[in-house]
């Protein structure tokens, strides 16, 4: 591909790299004191971007991240599934900051691929134990009272590959089945009210318009509490892969319930016991029986940097330890961070007010002595639930339950600042 700015005559990336290369041959700086012994050509020489013109306002009607950030993308693990159409990819949480996940790099889970469904062709039906079965167009949804809220969506299988021990050496793969967006849409309560739920209607069954339909049952109490049909995320229309034009949002509960391309809500007197809530998304326990209806995602946190993809890039001195915490039971109350594998803990600094069932960013402003660290984080939510260790979970659940692994993650950071996924004893 031709470099656009080069074609316009000057401010090319290649020219910049040449300049930077020349600079690298120059003199050195003293550590710590930061005293320059020779002038930095990036300052003393007029750079191309300071001389020539950049792109005009008509160059990019809808922008992508600048190419320097091309590596901040969703990635998948080939061997996890038989086919990329019924599979999952992972949010690059190591390279993001703040709390909101951009749609374009927020993890995707499809069971029959992401489909194209237009607003014109969209229909939503409410059937079953209601006074009046109804069909809504997208236009109907747009006329209903609208709400906006932020919520995390975590796949129940997030960290599921780590039950048997440290397996994937990247936080994107160990913890990247999560995203956090601000949604706008209509509350499920509003919709159900239009159809009139009969007293015996104690469950809803929701399904998508795609070939998998991914049907799930949800108790009426949750449906009327805080579920919503969303049509925008982070201020713009849902991306195709997130369920355009409308998806279900089920705050705090496992991502599989967040049905995309939502086409039908059935009202019933019991659960459907569909494929995704029996053969999958049930948690096999050591006695050979399985827990079902384990919907809520319990408190969890992870340090996103440093981590294997984001080593400490510098020597001893000030550094930022940063991570994410969340709870499907409410707000994060506190995050503790340990540098020594859980022997001693300090309270992390939370960035902003924790939201209900939303990601919370935490920081530890650390003065690194250059010695190895065993980094851990531990979330505590407003209910008093304390994120358990992986061994505490295994003691109760064994190692074959696949889902709901919210155990404490350990990153070993060596003298060079390189981080790796380990388990410690």
């Amino acid at each position: 591909m031709t470099d656009r700015s080069e074609a316009k005559g000057g401010t090319s990336r290649r020219a910049f790299l040449r300049t930077a290369g020349l600079a690298a041959g120059g003199a050195a700086l003293g550590a710590g004191g930061a005293r320059a012994t020779s002038p930095d050509p990036l300052i003393t020489e007029v750079q191309p971007w300071a001389m020539f013109l950049g792109e005009g306002v008509d160059a990019t009607p809808y922008g992508m991240p600048i190419h320097f950030e091309d590596h901040v993308v969703r990635r998948n693990v080939d061997w996890l599934t038989a086919d990329p159409v019924a599979s999952i990819n992972f949010t690059p949480i190591h390279a993001l900051d703040g709390t909101i996940t951009p749609q374009g790099c927020a993890f995707e889970r499809h069971h029959s691929g992401a489909i194209e469904l237009s607003k014109e062709e969209y229909r939503l039906m409410i059937t079953g134990l209601v006074e009046k079965p109804l069909v809504f167009t997208f236009g109907d949804l747009m006329r209903m009272p609208r709400i906006t809220r932020t919520a995390f969506c975590e796949c129940a299988a997030n960290s599921g590959m780590e039950w048997g021990g440290a397996q994937l050496n990247a936080v994107q793969f160990t913890h990247g089945m999560i995203h956090n967006m601000e949604y706008t849409g209509v509350s499920l309560r509003t919709l159900l009210n239009e159809a009139g739920v009969k007293p015996e209607g104690t469950w809803i069954y929701v399904e998508g318009a795609d070939a998998s339909s991914n049907g799930r049952s949800i108790p009426m109490e949750k449906a009327l509490d805080d579920c919503m049909i969303a049509f925008t995320a982070n201020g713009e229309a849902l991306r195709m892969e997130h369920g355009y034009p409308a998806r279900l949002v089920v705050p705090g509960w496992e991502g599989n319930l967040w049905v995309k391309w939502l086409r039908r809500i059935g009202v019933h007197d019991g659960p459907m016991e569909a494929r995704e809530e029996t053969s999958k998304y049930t948690d096999l326990m050591p006695d050979g029986r399985a827990r079902k209806w384990t919907w809520a995602m319990h408190a969890k946190s992870v340090i996103t940097s440093p981590s294997p993809q984001m080593p400490v890039g510098h020597g001893p001195g000030p550094m930022v330890i940063s991570g994410l915490a969340w709870s499907g039971l409410g707000r994060i109350a506190r995050v503790d961070v340990s540098l020594d594998g859980g022997a001693n803990w300090q309270e992390a600094r939370l960035a902003g007010e924790p939201g209900d069932k939303a990601l919370t960013r935490f920081y530890v402003d650390h003065e690194w002595d250059g010695q190895p660290m065993y980094l851990q984080s531990r979330a505590v939510d407003e209910t008093g639930y304390v994120q358990p260790t992986k061994d505490q979970l295994r003691e109760i659940r064994g190692v074959n339950s696949i889902y709901h692994n919210n155990g404490i993650q350990t990153w070993y950071v060596n003298e060079n600042g390189e981080a790796e996924n380990v388990e410690i004893g």
């Binding site: 167009t137 039908r264 827990r291 803990w345 380990v422």
Partner: protein, 364 residues
């Protein structure tokens, strides 16, 4: 009319009815938006089946018919005897393995209800051609699964009347989430903050397994390159080192093809891609990868395990020229009977031409 045809027809009806005025709502505080769903529409979409048989349509199917249907529609991914193939899920087997180190969770060993099996096949299978099976075919395939699981005899016929009499072995193997009772008391203790443990030793490393896909490492420094520490590295390893693609060969090839036809073929390709891959890095899946397929010998893709029917066709020296592709795509099992490609075919001649053009665009 086929089930798919009925579905499409009722959707068309729904399209016209969308403009009908909404009826008065029984609830006083309702907005009155939306319109009453018609019985045909509810019948088309409300097809879920509950464990007690609610929602199950009348019909029947036996093990023998089920076996034929299984070979045509299911065996490519799930094996001839439902034992699974490649990375695709086994459907039977695994009894008594749920406490093993590697449990095998199947309809036979794990699924609690037969309704789940019927409902899932009816709505989501075959993979890549969902909602194309007739009701009786779903009954028959379900019967074949029960037979393969050793739960019924070979002469068994499944009907709406005997459906709920069939119980799966693991029906009682599930219990409702008890984390609040079992785990919360343990996980709500005030945590220790200092001197909480002894020395730390590493007992497992992810790198020992070496199953992590490659990824760029970000050295998050971006400071003055003259600084000595920066010599360690400063920026993104590997990520920027993308090879420059040489499109010249493709461009020459594409020039002789109608771009519009190729684009139409790319759209049509969607129905193929659940089993076949094309392009850079294409691999064999449920079906062989199809780069360089036009003009190639039948059943000649390296590393793919073909059905005996395809192997026989190869032995006859057949070649995938455009004419043969067209005939095959129109009716796959007509040209090569008993092959395992679970695909109904493409009726539309223009669509087939587009598909062949698209395949050509991936052939040098």
């Amino acid at each position: 009319m086929s089930r798919l045809g009925k579905f499409l027809a009722s959707s068309a009806v729904a399209g016209f009815m969308a403009a009908a005025p909404a009826l008065a709502d029984p609830l006083a505080d309702a907005l009155g938006l939306g319109r009453a769903a018609l019985p045909e529409e509810i019948a088309a979409w409300d097809v879920a089946v509950m464990p007690d048989g609610q929602g199950l349509p009348p019909g029947h199917g036996d093990v023998w018919d089920g076996e034929d249907l299984w070979i045509d529609h299911c065996a490519a991914c799930h094996g001839d005897f439902a034992e699974g193939a490649g990375a695709w899920p086994p459907i039977v087997g695994g009894s008594g393995t749920l406490t093993d180190v590697r449990p095998l969770k199947t309809v036979e060993s794990y699924w609690p209800y037969l309704s789940t099996v019927w409902d899932y096949i009816n709505r989501s299978m075959p993979f890549g051609a969902a909602q194309t099976l007739e009701v009786d075919e779903v009954y028959a395939i379900t019967a074949y699964i029960l037979f393969s699981a050793g739960l019924v005899d070979a002469d068994f016929e499944l009907t709406q009347d005997n459906f709920t009499e069939i119980r799966l072995p693991n029906e009682d193997g599930f219990y409702i989430d008890d984390r609040a009772e079992v785990e919360f008391p343990v996980f709500t203790q005030e945590p220790c903050m200092s001197d909480c443990r002894g020395d730390v030793t590493i007992v497992a490393r992810a790198t020992d397994l070496d199953v992590t896909p490659e990824f760029p490492v970000i050295r998050n420094l971006y400071s003055d390159p003259l600084h000595p520490e920066a010599a360690r590295d400063n920026s993104i390893e590997d990520a920027a080192a993308q090879p420059v693609e040489d499109d010249s060969a493709n461009e020459v090839q594409l020039a002789s093809l109608d771009p519009e036809l190729v684009a139409a073929g790319e759209m049509a390709w969607r129905q193929c891609r659940s089993c076949h891959q094309l392009g850079d890095g294409a691999r064999n899946g449920a079906g062989p990868q199809l780069n360089e397929i036009v003009g190639a010998a039948v059943a000649g893709v390296d590393g793919f395990r073909y059905s005996p029917a395809f192997e026989a066709a190869r032995d006859e020296g057949l070649v995938w020229d455009a004419e043969m592709l067209d005939t095959f795509l129109e009716n796959p099992s007509g040209l090569i009977p008993r092959n395992r490609m679970s695909f109904r075919g493409v009726r539309d001649a223009d669509e087939r031409a587009a598909l062949i053009a698209y395949l050509k665009s991936h052939t040098d």
